[in-house]
Amino acid sequence: MNLSYREALNQAMREEMQRDDRVFLIGEEVGYYQGAFKVSKGFVEEFGTERVRDTPITEAGFTGLAIGAAMTGLRPIVELMTFNFGILALDQIVNNAAKIRYMSGGQISVPMVIRGPGSAAHQLAAQHSQSLEAWFCHVPGLKVIAPATPHDAKGLLKTAIRDDNPVIFIEAQLLYGTKGEVQEGEYTIPIGKAEIKREGQDVTIAAYSKMLLLALETAADLEQDGIDAEVVDLRTLKPLDVDTLVQSVKKTGRLVIVEEGWRFAGLGAQIAESVYSTAFDALDGPIVRVTGEDVPMPYARPLEDLAIPDRARIIQAVKQVL
């Protein structure tokens, strides 16, 4: 069936809440307003206010509350209106969610999902356009997922909800309206598995979330120039599926990594290192990264466009290594 990314998330949560009454949704405007981006449409009607909890604007508070609920046996889904606001909850996420299992000697686990959109939409300015996935990936004890398609979003969100550990699930405002074929019926997608979204011989382009769609469009452009690009959708950022990447690089000999986040200490730096250390002899050229610029996101549209990877820059990067 053809669903929007938003509808796929809605289905995933609905199915899991129907399946397991320990699962509940908490966050700002998730109830009567149906979600800031309408992801929880119809939830309060179906599950009631007990399981669909509207909160005040208190990210640290409700995230901490959810962590406590998870420790006592519930399976909360925390919706952050955006991950920019999640910065307020960072102490709870980093110091509690990620560490309780370790520090309790495995006695207490924190089965929860913290989800919401990351990355830039259009002209939301510096404070609301950030791609912070590298921050979360840096913390031991967190799993980080950033699916690009409705099918992957649904399958991975269901898996994340069933996972006994805290999972950071990063969506994107510009993905909510995108549509795609979603498998009928019950299915899940394992965490930690990348997927080759387009097969090719000449160069591997690795991307995730919104940038994956850009990579696929660019691959179509490159085809016009006779360049056969393979596009790997990482899907899970941590644990990273190095095997799939390395298999692809062994075939093509070249890797271009596309990410929207800031360049310095960005996720691509880690991906490149993982590939260099396992597949150095398969490389026919240096790994090239296409990233967001190391600046606060400009508000002005032309400047914003310059700060985010685009097709021209990916094409340039690909041609640079061929």
């Binding site: 000999g253 150095f280 002899d281 398969a282 490389l283 026919d284 050229g285 640079q320 290594v321 061929l322």
Partner: protein
């Protein structure tokens, strides 16, 4: 003490130097700092100063000679000292040298420092062997180049000393290619492949960004290696334009176009009868090729699926049947095109064909007359070729190779009879045609030629 004097590497790009003039003669006494000779680099003429003292015992390069940087050009030693080792023992010398590369490399960065060579920091490699070796390697240290160029091994033709063993043997070959260029950069992938397939990548010119040797360069080297190994005596003749065109077209065809071939045997007795009758009636010679041309046109009319081209994203169905007839020339081959064959009678086809062949032989063809065929026929029957297969000429999807009509025994019923038979081979582009389509076309062709009245009164 023995001092080996080598051609110094005075600039980064210098690979060779010309020994302009010796300032000292054999037997002259030498003090360190004396000018031994004038050296012409690729930039200037410079003095070559001695680092050692003693007597100039031997001069190994004559004036005016071009010498590789690092090659031994003279030996300085005490009167009566045994210099054989320094002259011929470059082998030992090489060995000891190769174990202490860092020291050499550092020293060559800057202008040579004579003391450096003597200084005690000199290599761990000051091995026993090296100590036994009576020569001083000062000039070596001063001038030797980075590893790939293997300086001391690069001895010019004048140098009589034996070539170094082992790895060094490739030095002369790589010398020419790497001339003037820094050591090549190679990607890890290419290096891994080169090592696995034992390709000497130091001689390869990289095609990657910044001249990096990448996988494709190694693959290319692997392909060409076999051909360069055996160079036979031959004379190079420039290709004619026609030969170039043939080379290009056939390569573009045979390489990328997936050919397949279908052969069929056709009884030609009836066709030959018709040929005789036509000649009688028209009182003109009628070639069998015209009948085959007509038959092919007729078969194409009934099987338009053969009259197509592969056009990337689409299959191009041609509206007209334009058949190229391969005509052999002294120095090549050209294929004039008979237009719209589907709508022409044998008579008109014969006229068209003979006019085109005439113009071909007189080299009067205009490009319009030999391009745009949708099918072609190549007949080598006149050379008694029994059967052959043709290379497609893109974008044509099919082409017919026609052999000689021969008298052969055939079994009809239970009897052995002599028959006139001809073998033809259809080459097809598998991207747009399949075996069964080609087979049906050939079946029709056979049918038409064996019942040649259909050439005159086509079946509806």
């Amino acid at each position: 003490m023995i001092t080996r004097v080598v051609m110094p590497k005075l600039t980064d790009t210098m690979e060779q130097g010309v020994l302009v003039e010796w300032k000292k003669r054999e037997g002259d006494a030498i003090d360190a700092g004396d000018v031994l000779a004038e050296i012409e680099t690729d930039k200037a003429v410079m003095d070559l100063e001695s680092f050692g003292s003693g007597t100039l015992r031997r001069i190994l390069a004559s004036e005016g000679e071009t010498v590789d940087a690092g090659a031994l050009i003279a030996v300085i030693a005490e009167e009566g000292e045994d210099i054989d080792a320094a002259l011929s023992g470059s082998q030992q010398f090489e060995k000891s040298k190769s174990v202490k590369p860092q020291a050499d490399e550092k020293s060559q960065e800057k202008t040579p420092e004579p003391q450096k060579a003597q200084s005690p920091e000199k290599p761990e490699a000051k091995s026993e062997e090296n100590q036994k070796e009576p020569s001083s390697d000062k000039p070596q240290a001063k001038t030797s180049e980075s590893k790939p160029s293997k300086p001391a091994a690069k001895v010019t033709s004048a140098e009589k000393s034996p070539e170094q063993p082992g790895k060094k043997t490739q030095a002369p070959a790589e010398k020419e290619e790497t001339e003037q260029s820094p050591p090549p950069i190679i990607s890890p992938r290419a290096r891994a492949l080169a090592e696995k397939s034992e390709v000497d990548w130091t001689t390869i010119r990289g095609s990657g960004p910044g001249g990096r040797i990448v996988e494709r360069d190694i693959l290319e080297a692997l392909n060409s290696e076999t051909s360069t190994e055996r160079k036979q005596e031959a004379v190079e003749k420039p290709l004619s334009q026609m030969r170039k065109a043939i080379a290009r077209i056939t390569t573009e065809s045979k390489g990328p176009v997936p050919h397949f071939y279908l052969m069929i045997d056709i009884g030609m007795r009836e066709a030959e009868k018709l040929q005789t009758q036509l000649e009688k009636t028209t009182k003109k010679p009628v070639s069998l090729t015209v009948l085959i041309l007509k038959a092919v046109a007729e078969a194409l009319r009934r099987h338009p699926e053969i009259n197509v081209s592969y056009a990337g994203e689409s299959l191009r169905q041609h509206r007209t049947i334009d058949i190229g007839i391969a005509v052999a020339l002294e120095d090549g081959l050209i294929t004039p095109v008979v237009r719209n064959c589907g709508k022409k009678s044998i008579g008109v086809l014969a006229q068209d064909m003979h006019r085109l062949i005439e113009r071909t032989k007189n080299r009067q063809l205009t490009p319009e007359e030999y391009t745009g065929a949708t099918f072609s026929i190549s007949n080598l029957g006149m050379y008694d070729i029994e059967n052959f297969i043709a290379v497609l000429m893109p974008p044509q999807a099919a082409s017919l190779a026609v052999g000689a009509v021969q008298t052969v025994p055939v079994i009809k019923g239970r009897k052995l009879k002599a028959d006139r038979r001809m073998k033809v081979t259809l080459s097809c582009d598998h991207r747009v045609l399949d075996g069964a389509q080609g087979a049906r076309f050939l079946k029709t062709l056979k049918e038409v030629l064996e019942n040649p009245l259909e050439l005159i009164i086509p079946k509806q």
